[in-house]
């Protein structure tokens, strides 16, 4: 259990800790969002664009995002490339090695759904969300390095909706109602979402 969980529990028990919790949340989310160290789970073509994103031309480091080869030091796993059935256990294992809180970015359509390798192939896992909880999907084959940078910025926005407390639910800043199962697609329709503006949708934040 990380120190942060103890802190969250303590704040929840303490009267008036709720306000503090909100502040701590804000600080933590800011810090986490601005310091997203990535694990480059580069398997195929997208890895090249990942490299490009962290090199001179695009420079990930400007956003405080540095690629670290060691999963223990990372916050975000960027799955860049096709994941095959042979590779899947390794990816899963590396994900498990990452310390909480951790996020997953599925970069490129192979990681999103298998992409071009969706049909007719026997060895490709159709999307890493079959075995990892993906936070941000990037379409592209491969996506431009800018798209990856944009995904990190999007992930920041997503992190901003989270709380250190496991019990706490926070209103989403966005009006995007998130489905419980991304595959089911029980999304609110656009019209419904508009109505939700007054009473923002809530969801419980889970790891």
């Amino acid at each position: 259990m990380a120190a942060i969980d103890e802190l969250a529990e303590f704040l929840e028990r303490t009267p008036g800790g709720g306000i503090l919790l909100t502040t701590v949340d804000a600080v933590m989310n800011w810090a986490r969002g601005k310091s997203l160290w990535t694990f480059p789970m580069g398997t195929a073509c997208c890895a090249m664009e990942f490299i490009a994103a962290s090199f001179s031309r695009f420079d990930f480091d400007r956003h405080g995002t540095i690629p670290r080869p060691d999963p223990r030091h990372c916050d975000v796993m960027v799955v860049a490339g096709t994941v095959t059935r042979k590779m899947m256990p390794a990816v899963k294992r590396i994900y498990d090695q990452m310390p909480e809180p951790k996020w997953v970015v599925a970069m490129g359509n192979c990681a999103v759904s298998g992409g071009i390798f969706y049909y007719d192939t026997y060895s490709v896992v159709r999307g890493v969300d079959e075995f990892l909880p993906v936070d941000v999907y990037i379409a592209g084959c491969p996506p431009r390095p800018e798209a990856l940078q944009d995904a990190i910025l999007q992930l920041r926005k997503k992190i901003a909706t989270e709380s250190i407390s496991k019990r706490r639910t926070r209103p989403l800043v966005s009006d995007l109602a998130l489905p419980t199962d991304p595959r089911k697609g029980d999304l609110l329709s656009a019209a419904d979402a508009d109505e939700e503006d007054e009473a923002p949708a809530t969801r419980s934040v889970s790891a």
């Binding site: 059935r85 042979k86 969706y118 049909y119 007719d120 192939t121 026997y122 060895s123 159709r126």
Partner: protein, 153 residues
């Protein structure tokens, strides 16, 4: 070297291989009976085909066709060596003793087609996990994990 010259050269050295030599799409190919494939390869290596470019197989229904692509630096030419392997008992002599390059390539063919190479030092699956069932490049390979594409062209 032009392919006709190559054919003449092959015919001159190995008259019995001559009728098996065919030219298609500008490429020479010798189709030999399976039992002769190793000796033919050795002969061709002797003739100057020092590189084994490729080993592969084609699923021809009742039989597999095993295809070797030989390349020669001195002759500046390339050609195919082919043989038909019965599907029921797919066994082929390994070329590892002639060209070490055959090592991984034959493992790959074994992996994807299930053709057994006799005399191979280390015949294991190479691309697929060891516990994989079946040989996916066979035309009759069935895998419920495959989602077939929509059938329109």
């Amino acid at each position: 070297m032009r392919i006709e010259e190559l054919r003449e050269r092959v015919c001159a050295m190995y008259p019995d291989l001559c009728p098996l030599f065919s030219i298609e799409f500008g490429d020479g190919a010798i189709s030999v009976p399976l039992e002769r494939v190793h000796s033919a390869a050795a002969d061709l290596k002797e003739m100057g085909f020092d590189r084994l470019g490729m080993v592969t197989a084609v699923d021809r229904g009742e039989e597999f066709e095993i295809v070797y692509r030989l390349q020669s630096r001195d002759l500046r030419a390339g050609m195919f060596l082919k043989a038909l392997v019965p599907r029921s008992d797919p066994r082929v002599p390994s070329m590892c003793d002639l060209w070490p390059a055959a090592n991984w390539q034959e493992r790959e063919v074994y992996d994807l087609f299930g053709i057994v190479f006799e005399g191979h030092p280390d015949l294991r699956r190479i691309l697929l996990p060891d516990d994989w069932e079946g040989h996916p490049l066979r035309k009759d390979y069935v895998d419920e994990r495959i989602i077939p594409r929509p059938d329109y062209i």
